[in-house]
Amino acid sequence: MRVEHSFEQRLSLSSRPAPREHLDPKARTLWRLSGLLSAAPLVLLCAGAVWVLLRLDVHPALAVAPVIAACVAALVGVILVPDLQYRHWRYEIGEEEVDLQYGLVTITRTLIPMARIQHVDTRRGPLERRFGLASVILYTAAGASEIPALAGGVADSVRDRIAALANTRDDL
């Protein structure tokens, strides 16, 4: 009889186990805060819309709908999303490839060969600095990928490791 595995189990059973490293636990707090900051204008905007709709004699139930929707979206964005993001984010810097796994509902696994990496950056935003976190950004000729919210020291060592492993040969 075939054993039914959960998706998580199947992921780790596939020919390539899920990457090992997690982000810094402070990432959740950081994302909550930034979610709150980015949701605030939306909520304000919706409140404004309600005011306008009420003045236009729209049915009150219909008018309040946008602000409720905005509040729900903000709550989801502040409470649920950072949690899921953090739970799903994994990375690993192998000799040959950078291995990323992330996603909210859709889980994405991305592999970037070291030889294809053109350059690598670390970035610390004002909010990230507050938390002592940093992001690592990898650039290939086909776009950029980011490992967000690593502890500052870890981000630096990840960056240096990738820089050292990225092949010098370039056959673009």
Binding site: S15, E96, R116, V120, A141, A142, D156, D160
Partner: protein, 538 residues
């Protein structure tokens, strides 16, 4: 080893960093330049007149309006000011022509320009992705060509070097230089530049387009959209320009407005757009020639604007074959080159061959760029690995679901607006059937193959059918994504990308079997499928 905080490992010399722009503010006496290697040269003096005419082009419309509407009263002062401005701009142009020089030396192409802020730019020859030559009728009049040197700086505007006017002799000399120095670095002896004007058709002719093919390509081009836009543009232009006395009788006649009149109008406009599309294809691709000389391809095309591009085979990232809706029933397709050059993807840039029978595609690729000649590119040939059957339902459902949702949104919006009946969106549901068919086709067309030489073939359908061929080592990154519904059905989406600034370098297989997807994710990697040695983080 620690790398500085803005790390530019040596690989980072590629791409964005390859073109160094330096604004040199100190005054350098450039009058007597050093004469090492290929001495700095100026553009052809026709550049002054050419750019002056180009900048005048924008003034044609206002001038025409002025002349037509303003009647005869021409002001002396107005003319004088115009004259002074024109002279001044010619003077400025002449000065900037004088300051513009280019040279090839030390494995670099160097361009110096700028009147006040001197700009010096150098492009290492090994970073050059393609060299394009083109000539417009105007340039042909002055016997000059425009040479564009494409680099891989994706998106960075102005990173390509364009030499707007070179004499034929200078152009072929430059092309020779660029390729000669690349093969043999160091200041070699100057290659004797034989000044064969424009027909420097070198290399083995792989395929030329026959007039019949050109006609078929035009008929099936599907360029009707742009043609329509052009038609409406012309219409508006005429509306602005022509006096009302011409329009009014027309409007009077149109008062007997009827369904038949509307239909006739639609047919006439459609036919006009189609003819325009035909004409534009013929003009763009007329005299298409694909040649190969050693390790580079020469492509030449265009009746009015004659363009030639040279692409080193090593710069080709992928080949795509697109079968448009009008072309697929006849087994016809367009072959394109994906490369890191060609920042702005225009309709014709990067075309390997505009119209080819899908049966012939493999043999053409075999001769042009064998690295990409995968046998399974031919849809009539060997079958690709299909998607699992359970994916079919999802293709159909997602296609029809989108249409149904759109109809629902239209209904809801109509219900909210007083005066519009809510059911106005219902006829949209008629589109469900074509959508289902489209979904079914999408499922049937999708597939993949990997051959023994690590060529990857992926076929998918958006509107037309697109097959992309690339090689494993060209893949920049690859990923597998599993959505919640896909997880239940054990399906996954595989995506990968090659370096392509035109955005055509993405390949995707939606609703692949989950196991296959992860298997492919590994197989497309550099190392052997199962890499047990996994190095932990530092």
């Amino acid at each position: 080893m620690r790398v500085p905080s803005t790390p530019l490992p040596s690989t980072a010399q590629a791409g964005r960093e390859s073109v160094t722009d330096r604004v040199d503010r100190q005054v350098v006496v450039t009058g007597d330049a050093s004469t090492i290697g290929f001495a700095p040269r100026r553009l052809h003096p026709a550049w002054i007149i050419l750019t002056a005419i180009q900048s005048l082009r924008g003034l044609v419309l206002p001038l025409a309006v002025l002349v037509i509407s303003g009647g005869r009263q021409q002001d002396g002062a107005f003319l004088a000011i115009a004259g002074v401005l024109a002279l001044g701009s010619i003077g400025l142009r002449a000065a900037s022509w004088w300051m513009f020089r280019y040279e090839v030396s030390g494995g670099e192409l160097r361009v110096r320009s700028g009147l006040i802020a001197r700009r010096e730019r150098s492009v290492p020859l090994e970073r050059i992705q393609a060299v394009d030559t083109s000539e417009s009728p105007l340039q042909r009049l002055f016997r000059v060509v425009r040479v564009k040197i494409e680099t891989a700086a994706a998106g960075a505007a102005g990173s390509d070097v364009t030499l707007e006017a070179l004499s034929h002799a200078d152009a072929s000399d430059l092309r020779r230089r660029l390729s000669a120095e690349r093969l043999d670095p160091g200041p070699g002896s100057p290659v004797a530049g034989d000044a064969k004007p424009q027909s420097e058709a070198t290399g083995e002719l792989i395929r030329a387009m026959t007039p019949a093919e050109l006609f078929v390509a035009g008929v099936t081009s599907g360029r009707i959209g742009p043609a329509l836009a052009l038609l409406f543009g012309a219409f508006q232009f005429a509306d602005e320009l022509l006096p009302d006395s011409i329009w009014e009788p027309l409007a009077m006649e149109a008062r007997g407005f009827s369904l038949r009149g509307l239909l006739t109008l639609l047919v006439v406009v459609g036919l006009g757009a189609w003819l325009l599309a035909l004409a534009s294809t013929v003009l763009t691709f007329g005299g298409f020639e694909l040649r190969r000389e050693g390790d580079r391809l020469h492509i030449a095309y265009g009746l009015l604007d004659r363009r030639r591009s040279t692409i080193p085979l090593a710069r080709i990232q992928a080949i795509t074959m697109t079968e448009g809706l009008l072309r697929q029933p006849f087994g016809l397709a367009t072959l394109r080159i994906e490369s890191a050059a060609y920042g702005k993807a225009t309709a014709e840039s990067g075309v390997l061959f505009p119209l080819v029978r899908t049966r012939e595609a493999v043999s053409l690729l075999q001769r042009a760029c064998p690295a990409f000649a995968a046998a399974s590119i031919d849809p009539g040939g060997s079958r690709l690995h299909p998607l699992p059957r359970r994916a079919m339902r999802r293709y159909v459902l997602s296609a029809t679901g989108r249409v149904a949702a759109l109809a629902a949104v239209v209904c809801a919006a109509a219900a909210l607006v007083p005066g519009i009946p809510w059911w106005i969106g219902v006829p949209g549901l008629l589109l469900v059937l074509p959508a289902a068919l489209h979904g079914l086709l999408g499922y049937r067309d999708a597939g993949w193959a990997i051959d023994s030489e690590e060529r990857i073939v992926v076929r998918e359908r958006t509107i037309g059918r697109r097959t992309i061929v690339t090689v494993r080592r060209r893949l920049q990154h690859r990923q597998v994504a599993c959505g919640p519904f896909q997880r239940r059905a054990r399906l996954a989406t595989l995506r990968a990308a090659v370096a392509s600034s035109g955005g055509g370098g993405h390949l995707a297989l939606v609703h692949l079997d989950e196991g296959d997807a992860f298997d492919l994710l590994s197989r497309l990697g550099r190392s052997s499928p199962v890499s047990s040695e996994r190095t932990p983080m530092p």
